[in-house]
């Protein structure tokens, strides 16, 4: 049977790993290549890099990190942040990324998702959706790392990216991100119930039972977390053993 995936995410700014608290206050947590290797050796099912510098002049930095990481980690590597053009995707894939995650550019122009999935295959196109609750059971899509409101309903958008060839959705709750109070389970449930592609839960993990909630209550196919792993609170192995003990199937 297909296992639930645990994906540590490394937020990278100017070549260093950081973790945003509500996307604003940043702390340094080390070297990305070294960190990725630790995760992969520790049993991470995938590794995710999110380049939060994402300005054009610094694209070479992340590409270099991807290149180095891909030579040492033999599990899937997803890279996101500032992916705007087909050329950006080509560069990342050539450097050794297995999937790219598209956020703002997908919202601006959903045809970009279509074009990218047609060219590279759905298997390597992840659409990252940053959603914020606007009223009871209603979430809106935000862009630019959570700064810009779009007026787009998150559920409608999730369906739309699926239709346009996205292979997976990386769903981040802007309300929960950095709070360590758990995923927005209602948001997850709503999106997983209205789409047929795998959804990766993101934003808010503070303890291992939050991972459980994301999978069992939220219906996520994979759970992404950053800070609980970075600062050594938990190892990937702890997370897997915990989930396994609660009868959630994982790759041990």
């Amino acid at each position: 049977m297909l296992k639930n995936r645990i994906i540590p995410c490394l937020d990278v700014k100017d070549g260093r790993v950081v973790k945003g608290i509500n996307f604003v206050e940043l702390k340094d947590a080390g070297d990305p290549v070294e960190q990725a290797k630790i995760y992969s050796d520790g049993g991470a099912d995938e590794i995710c890099f999110l380049d939060i510098t994402a300005s054009n002049e610094n694209r070479e930095t992340i590409i270099d990190i991807v290149r180095k990481t891909a030579k040492e980690c033999f599990v899937p590597l997803t890279v996101g942040g500032g992916v705007r053009t087909i050329q950006n995707i080509t560069d990342l894939l050539l450097a050794g990324a297995d999937k790219v995650s598209i956020n703002t550019s997908a919202v601006k122009n959903v045809d970009f998702v279509k074009e990218a999935s047609k060219k590279f295959g759905s298997q390597c196109i992840v659409v990252a959706i940053d959603a914020k609750k606007v009223s009871e059971n209603k979430w809106e899509v935000f862009t630019h790392g959570g700064r810009n409101k779009t007026g787009i309903n998150a559920v409608d958008f999730a369906k739309k990216v699926e239709e346009n060839g996205a292979g997976e959705i990386l769903l981040t709750s802007m309300d929960k991100d950095g709070t360590k109070s758990g995923y927005d389970v209602d948001l997850l449930k709503t999106i997983t119930n209205s789409t047929n592609i795998p959804v990766i839960a993101s934003g808010g993990v503070g303890s291992l039972d939050h991972l459980y909630d994301g999978i069992v209550k939220g219906g996520a196919s994979a759970v992404l977390a950053a800070s609980i792993f970075h600062y050594g609170e938990y190892k990937i192995k702890d997370a897997k053993e915990y989930l396994n003990s609660k009868n959630v199937s994982v790759r041990l």
């Binding site: 296992k3 099912d45 033999f74 050794g96 297995d98 590279f120 295959g121 759905s122």
Partner: protein, 208 residues
Amino acid sequence: MNVTIVDYQSGNISSVINSFTEVAKGKVNIEITSDIKKIKSSDKIVLPGQGSFKSCVNSLNSINGLVDTLKEFAITNKKPLLGICVGLQMFADIGYEEAETRGLGWIAGKVSKIDNQKGKFKLPHIGWNEIEIQKESKIFKDIKNKSHMYFVHSYEFIPEDKAVISATTDYSSKIVCAVEKDNLFGTQFHPEKSDKIGLKIINNFLKL
């Protein structure tokens, strides 16, 4: 020994290159090319494949003489060839992704969309799944039954002769995830992304 990874613009093959290079570590020469002459003179071939069945077949056909050279290598001369993902799927007679497309026809069968039981199973089938070994295969030497491999696909190869199946995986039904027929090997999963156990499969292939 020379092993060629066929580079026919079939999408992202960086990971295949990285993992084979890691396992080969100087002992085996890894060549990444679509050059017919080099392919002819190599000892083993790796045929990767990403994207759709149709786009991969079209890319293969767009390189003059490539399909015939591969056929001569694998079918006439019976030298070892490993197909990965769509690389395996193309062994089939026919595929139905995007449009009905003729495959290489090396192993009788077809490639159809996984029956996801009306949405009960999400597609693509992405992630780590256990393989159930169905017969002894040279590339599974020292690989335990129920080992986890990394998958990402929405279509499955259905061979006519079930005897070629070396492993299946359970996702809505028993999906064929590895085949072995004489010198032909194929995996639906990605050994290059399947951690140490995947590298072991690559090592087994290189040691054949």
